[in-house]
């Protein structure tokens, strides 16, 4: 559906370098990256607002690199929606149809149809100044979808709306994708990727540094940057060695972990997902592959419930639900035990 071949583009001191992406028809591709990583510039290249310095853009087996914007059949929804303030909602939606010189009667039919689909019929005659973020988002989607683009490009579509409205927009986007619309969605929020993407690409400093399904990317991040993006906070610089035919990892501070698997490098960066670690108030009776004693240093609320930081020579961050935290009955400065399976340790490539 969309193929980017070795795209290079210099923009001042920043450059998109050798970008190669393959997106199949009907896929929901989330491009994940921090502000300034080049994701918006990449979307603008795909939409045709800019031309790459080198490389090719193919849409539906057609090389569109030099084609004009309206010949690409893509729709771009901007981060802050870019709704025209000098027009009503209906005027905004009809704008692209006027550009295509459609008959007035057909325009009215199309505008009403898309407005019904996106539940904004009641807004059609209103100007846009007093609309909420969620309403503006729907108007922007309607304005883009009314021309039935083959490819929908979304630039941080949830950055400017309340948390309560995000689920609504996510549902709408999922429905559009289920109907067969190919979507490229750029965001800095990995949770959007987890909940929406069928494929994820991580962009950093103008390079795609990892691509795959959300499971692949978030369970096997290629480096610390991607791991941090996946919400992982437990990083350990370790040396790997074998003892009694078993691989182990030794931290700088003498703490040693048991690992599963083999052929580890001499040394590297090991990560542990917070949700793979269990915490106990007293020494666990049952055998665990990794069992470490520490002191609870911090207890903070988090989006998952509670986040507990345990110092055991190395710092461990553990996520707990509020109920589990209440049942555990621990407080700061109290002793605690953490356990995790050997397979929970992930070694980052190229670290």
């Amino acid at each position: 559906m969309l193929k980017l071949r070795n795209i290079n583009k210099k923009l001042g001191n920043f450059a998109l370098s050798d970008i190669c992406i393959d997106i199949r028809k009907g896929e929901y591709y989330v491009l994940l990256g921090r502000s300034g990583s080049g994701k918006t510039q990449l979307l603008e290249l795909i939409a045709g607002l800019n031309c790459p310095d080198s490389g090719e853009i193919w849409i539906d087996s057609v090389n569109v690199t030099k084609r004009r914007i309206h010949e690409r059949n893509t729709g771009l929804v901007f981060q802050d929606y870019a709704i025209f303030p000098n027009m009503t909602v209906a005027g905004n939606i009809a704008y692209s149809l006027h550009s295509r010189k459609m008959k007035r009667k057909d325009i009215i039919i199309k505008v009403k149809k898309i407005a019904e689909e996106l539940n904004i019929m009641h807004l059609l005659d209103r100007f846009t100044q007093n609309l909420s973020g969620g309403e503006l988002q729907r108007v922007a989607l309607a304005r883009t979808l009314v021309t039935s683009p083959k490819l929908l490009l979304l630039d941080e579509p949830m950055a400017s709306i309340d948390a309560s409205l995000k689920d609504d927009i996510k549902r709408t986007l999922r429905q559009l994708n289920r109907k067969g619309l190919t979507i490229v969605h750029v965001t800095h929020d990995y949770r959007e990727a987890v909940s929406l993407a069928s494929k994820v690409g991580v962009i950093h400093n103008g390079h795609i540094i990892q691509e795959g399904t959300p499971e692949e990317v978030f369970s096997k991040p290629v480096n610390k940057f991607v791991a941090r993006y996946a919400g992982i906070r437990n990083f350990f610089r370790v040396r790997f060695f074998t003892e009694d035919n078993r691989w182990k990892a030794k931290c700088d501070g003498d703490l040693t972990f048991n690992l599963s698997g083999n052929n580890f490098p001499g040394e590297g960066l090991m990560i542990l997902r917070s949700d793979a670690i269990s915490i106990h108030r007293e020494e666990p009776k049952t055998e665990y592959e990794n069992r470490i004693r520490g002191v609870v240093m911090e207890i903070n609320s988090s989006e998952f419930g509670m986040e507990i930081m345990v110092d055991a020579g190395e710092k461990f961050y553990v996520d707990l639900s509020v109920n589990d935290f209440k049942n555990l009955n621990i407080s700061e400065k109290s002793e605690a035990w953490i356990t995790f399976p050997a397979k929970a340790g992930i070694v980052l490539q190229g670290s």
Binding site: L49, T74, P85, N86, Y95, S99, I107, T144
Partner: protein, 268 residues
């Protein structure tokens, strides 16, 4: 409401002095002009003709210059090009030039030996002592007001709105006419009115290019130098009243015009 503290009192005093400086001479002129003198001046055909000439020539100069000045303002607001700062400096040049010097420059340009003068002469038109020459002199000194105001208006239109329109299949000209222009409209109208008003009040450049036919500022000067203050004052008062009325009408019209434009554009 300003609170009654020493700082605010100083502010109030200084602001009042500035306002008084502007209003006192005008008020003095109005007070010292009798009703009968005013009526006589209003009925003076020469005065009426000069005011009418001033209004329509300044309006025509502004209108025709706007056709080129508005696209130039958009270019300055949106595009990067070599020597852009030099271009901007050139545009501001008429503001800092002595207006008599501007008049001399224009005269050189439109006289029979000048480039434009020769071209006009070829079609049987003499620009000196002609409303067309007056319009050129007015435009020369007042054009920066329109260009700068329109440029600021275009610069304030978020570029992403223009990009969004492009992605919705609009051509560059449609984006300009339906997005950039309507959203910068208020600044353009402000610039238009400022250029019109500045052109209307121009004396120095116009008097060198065309003493006749007389625009109002030249007529006022002529009455002052020939007959004295008493005869110049009523003509000044009449001109100020007319200019003020036109200024207010244009302002009101521009606000109404903007609303109408939006509602038409918004139709499906």
């Amino acid at each position: 409401m300003l609170k009654n503290n020493p700082f605010n009192l100083v502010l109030l005093l200084l602001s009042s002095l500035v306002l008084l400086f502007i209003l006192a001479p005008l008020a003095g002129m109005f007070i010292n002009t009798g009703g009968s003198e005013l009526l006589e001046t209003v009925n003076d055909r020469e005065v009426r003709a000069s005011i009418w000439l001033t209004l329509w020539v300044s309006f025509a100069a502004t209108f025709f210059c706007a056709i080129g000045a508005i696209p130039l303002a958009w270019l300055l607001a949106r595009k990067k090009f070599p020597l852009k700062n030099v271009v901007q400096g050139v545009i501001d040049l008429p503001v800092v030039l002595p207006h008599t010097a501007a008049g001399i420059a224009i005269l050189g340009f439109i006289s029979r030996d000048g480039m434009l003068g020769k071209a006009a002469d070829a079609v049987g038109l003499t620009l000196i002592n002609n409303p067309a020459g007056i319009a050129l002199a007015m435009a020369f000194v007042s054009l920066p007001f329109l260009i700068n105001s329109a440029r600021d208006g275009f610069a304030a239109v978020p570029e992403r709105l223009e990009k969004a329109a492009l992605t919705l299949g609009a051509g560059r000209s449609r984006v300009f006419l339906t997005i950039s222009l309507p959203l910068a409209w208020r600044s353009i109208i402000t610039g238009f009115i400022m250029m019109f008003a500045r052109g209307m009040s121009e004396f120095g450049a116009v008097v060198i290019v065309a003493y006749h036919p007389m625009i109002a500022p030249v007529l006022i000067y002529e009455r002052f130098s020939s007959f004295g203050l008493k005869y110049a004052r009523p003509a000044s008062v009449v001109f100020i009243i007319v200019a003020l009325a036109v200024f207010i009408i244009l302002r009101l019209f521009s606000i109404r015009k903007k609303e109408v434009y939006i509602s038409q554009d918004a139709e499906t």
